[in-house]
Symmetry: C2
Subunit: 547 residues, 2 copies
């Protein structure tokens, strides 16, 4: 292989924004050329953004995507381009599309690659849309024998995965034919620990096949899915050569034959930082890609809404975050001060709207509601009055409501549908409560952002006198451990009991998870930060019997 | 082929209720034996119910399903059984399960069949879970050469489908090997026109291959999906021999060699009856399978809530349906009388709860709300007060809230999230407004159930003075036609304009559909009665650009 300098255009596309995505690619190509690169590589489906979901069923969408490729082939000169796009399948097959990659240079198509391993699990539905490619062929470009794969194609290495999901290994197929540089274009969503695992996987691929690897990932949030970027280059001995920034757009230059140090951007130092940065990016992208600028958040004085506000202020600027405190007779006196302190620390607008007049009006609406003793009905009314107020503020100001529930409470239904669940985006709905605390402490590492009292106080819904979460739920360390085993690891209750948890507690948690499926199916989209989030990656029936 | 008498056990399973489903199958087998049958056939995945969705990812669920099969093999004697179950895949494959059929008799396994064509489109996710079977083999049973297929396996006939979805045709494969009777076990969801199309498909298969066909379908509602049953037997010349009842459980006896008349149950006589019966079944099953007995419905005086109440009363008995009328200052005086008249006609409990006190309390909560002129904010507050009242009544009485929005308004977002969209089930959310009227007239065919004035009045949200739907939306005949083309037929705006619709109107409707995706993703599950419902069969991004 001759000396070659190539670049990753780690872009943050908007789904279906062909004009905007093309502009980003043209700019990146220009910069790459100016940096002396001979090839610029873009992520999987970079032309349309990933995942386009059922937009792929629209013929006009496919046509727009092909037109965009033509435009890029015309506009980008003087540098070769490898990009991801949707190819029409002319052959008879189950699906009439391919998830494809195209290599072109100066208006001439040099090579096409079709994704062979189509993930169809969790949040992925690729078999719904695409026909798998049937072969892998290296391509000679500029004196270099390239092996090109698309995302999942690289995730079937027999030495990395104990049991492989697929029967074929496109990377091995390519390397068997002789390859001097492997390139993988990806849209690989983030979850905790994934960036590190990905690096070890790619290092192993490079080492095993004795070939440098260039890995180009999408960055940005598209609804629930967060892409961390962190594109990578590895030398043929498996050592890391280059790494792009995480959670932001970047242009990463890689020289596979170079041995002197190249740019290796830092990755987040701990899980708290990793998730925090993912949430900030995901919030910013959801809000702005939906065409909003401002958000409004109800602050309770508790940790969940505090973390949500801190994330939003970082994502959008404090001037674009309105907070409102909606106390009731059950609100403890600390919370007035704590919410105000938080808003001051963040620099956000802060309002107070007591809910008593509306709550009283509801209690008077029917004699089946009870002014004296507040059961579930009256507790829910309070949450729904607050939810309605937030939506009214949203309607008046054009600010998107961010909802503040965490994963633990969403799992067991410890939340009010049409109440505190109201909002366009559930910022921390995939963050377990124990991690909510950890991230809040991380935010405060260099000085108090979230008032310490908010972090220290005993969690309470404050919907009846002297309420505490832990009177109604197991301790959060126990709850989160059981939920992790049941929801993420898909363990059976008996297996969780065998891990050392109380059988009755496990049964109660499992029962709550199952009977509250109806709430989650009406929940706002949430930012996915674990390997198994509620939302469209977890598809359970509502009407069912659970053993 | 010798004379043989066989039966379809057209059962209504509950997902995951292995005990209950086994009991149903044992009872059906007993009845079939008593009717002189030598074989009883149950639907696809009859042991677990279809669709189990991600419950299939739980090892304990698969084990329970296998235990259920063992129990049935032990308990059912003196008659052969063909059932649907989940088989573990011991071979290396992408997925470790098969969607399978098992033929057994007196405790002995005679034959196994694995589904080859795995639908992965619309509401179907079978590639997410299953490995396709690789071959089709006939089996000799009781002197008859049987060809057994599972649901989609029969839906690839080259003479019926202009362009076939799959490369293989399991039915043709079997018939090429010589088959005396084809049996297909299905869980084929209903949509308008589907039962008639299905009959023409099966008739064609019988005729083309000159072989009798026995088609056994699941019946009942599982969340959004409605299965109409209507199991069928065709003679080898393609004439209909037997048909089971639609929308209820049935045991259907079929003698493939008989030529004298057998039982052919009626099917619904028109689309209105077809959809009405589907809605009644779907409402009953969702409510009862979720463990509820009663429902509560907000009546506005409009046609949507009237139809919903009529369906509910038929599904659950009028004594289990509570209705509540929640007037405001904008409610026209007719509606008091009309809602009361409807409740009387149906025999439902009827309450009146005026919303003024709550509405006024909200308007006073912040000086950004306006007492005088009511914009979107104030309109939404009214809807949300009503939604909160309904949920409070639900909490107090244990009745499930049924929400009443139709497909046309859900499509364009002419509804209030956390307001009139509140509820556990959206009964008519897949029924276009024009069909809502047609079904209401159908209900009144033998006398007034829904007061005529409700059918005749001009539709209005009644959230501000002199409001009318048609001031804010195109005429419903136009709107529904455009929506049918855009949502169900997935046509591009230009194609719809070419059909003769105004370009501006088309653009406006399309824009509304797209910007309101966020509302639909938080909507209650709705009963699917068209070929493309909103819900999990239609998966669109929220943050996107639309050309």
């Amino acid at each position: 292989m001759d000396m070659v300098r190539i670049a990753a255009g780690q872009i943050n596309p908007i789904i279906g924004d062909f004009e905007g995505n093309c502009r980003k690619m043209e700019e990146a190509a220009k910069k790459a050329r100016e940096a002396g690169c001979r090839l610029v590589v873009f992520p999987e489906l970079s032309v349309s953004g990933y995942p386009p979901r059922d937009l792929l069923e629209r013929r006009s969408f496919i046509k727009d995507n092909l037109n965009a490729v033509e435009r890029l082939m015309e506009n980008i000169q003087g540098i070769a381009v490898l990009l991801g796009y949707v190819e029409r399948n002319g052959e008879p097959g189950e699906n009439n599309l391919y998830n494809a990659a195209l290599l072109f240079e100066d208006g001439r198509v040099l090579h096409k690659v079709r994704k062979r391993l189509l993930p169809t699990y969790d949040v992925f539905d690729e078999r719904r849309y695409f026909e798998p490619g049937s072969e892998s062929k290296p391509v000679m470009w500029n004196g270099v024998r390239l092996g090109i794969t698309i995302c999942e194609d690289m995730w079937n290495d027999k030495e990395v995965f104990e049991s492989r999901k697929y029967r074929v290994d496109p990377v091995a197929d390519l390397c068997d034919q002789g390859v001097e540089l492997l390139i993988n274009i990806s849209a690989s969503p983030f979850n905790t620990g994934k960036p590190a695992f990905r690096e070890s996987l790619i290092a192993s691929v490079a080492r095993r096949h004795k070939v440098p690897v260039f890995y180009v990932n999408q960055v940005g949030g598209n609804d629930s899915l967060l892409f961390d970027g962190a594109s990578l280059g590895f030398y043929s001995d498996g050592t890391l050569a280059v790494r792009a920034e995480s959670f932001v757009e970047d242009l990463l230059v890689f020289e596979p034959k170079e041995t002197s140090p190249q740019r290796i951007a830092d990755v987040p130092a701990c899980v708290e930082e990793e998730v925090y940065r993912a949430l900030v990016m995901g919030t910013r992208d959801y809000v702005t890609k939906c065409g909003f600028k401002k958000v409004v958040i109800g602050l309770s004085g508790g940790i969940d809404s505090a973390l949500t506000a801190a994330v939003a202020a970082d994502a959008l600027g404090a001037e674009n975050v309105s907070t409102v405190f909606m106390p009731s007779e059950y609100t403890s006196s600390d919370n007035d001060e704590d919410t105000k302190g938080l808003a001051e620390n963040l620099g956000c607008h802060f309002d107070v709207v007591p809910i008593a007049p509306m709550f009283d009006a509801f209690l008077g609406a029917s004699d089946i509601f009870c002014r004296e003793e507040h059961g579930i009905t009256e507790q829910n009314i309070q949450a729904r009055v607050r939810g309605t107020l937030l939506m009214a503020l949203s309607n008046k100001t054009g600010a998107l409501v961010l909802t503040t529930g965490n994963k633990s409470e969403l799992a067991v239904g410890y939340c009010t549908l049409y109440g505190d669940m109201n909002g366009g985006l559930a910022v921390i709905s995939d963050v377990p409560k124990t991690l909510v605390w950890d991230i809040s402490r991380f935010i405060n590492r260099n000085g108090e952002v979230i008032p310490q009292r908010i972090i220290d106080k005993v969690p309470s819904a404050e919907l009846r006198p002297d309420q505490s979460d832990q009177d109604e739920l197991p301790a959060y360390e126990v709850l989160d451990a059981i939920l992790h085993a049941y929801v993420e690891q898909v363990k059976a209750p008996a297996e969780i009991v065998a891990m050392g948890y109380d059988a009755e507690v496990v049964a109660d948690v499992v029962r709550r998870v199952e009977i509250n499926e109806y709430k989650r199916q009406q929940a706002a989209p949430g930012l996915r930060v674990t390997a198994k989030a509620f939302g469209y990656g977890r598809r359970y029936p509502i009407a069912k019997r659970i053993a």
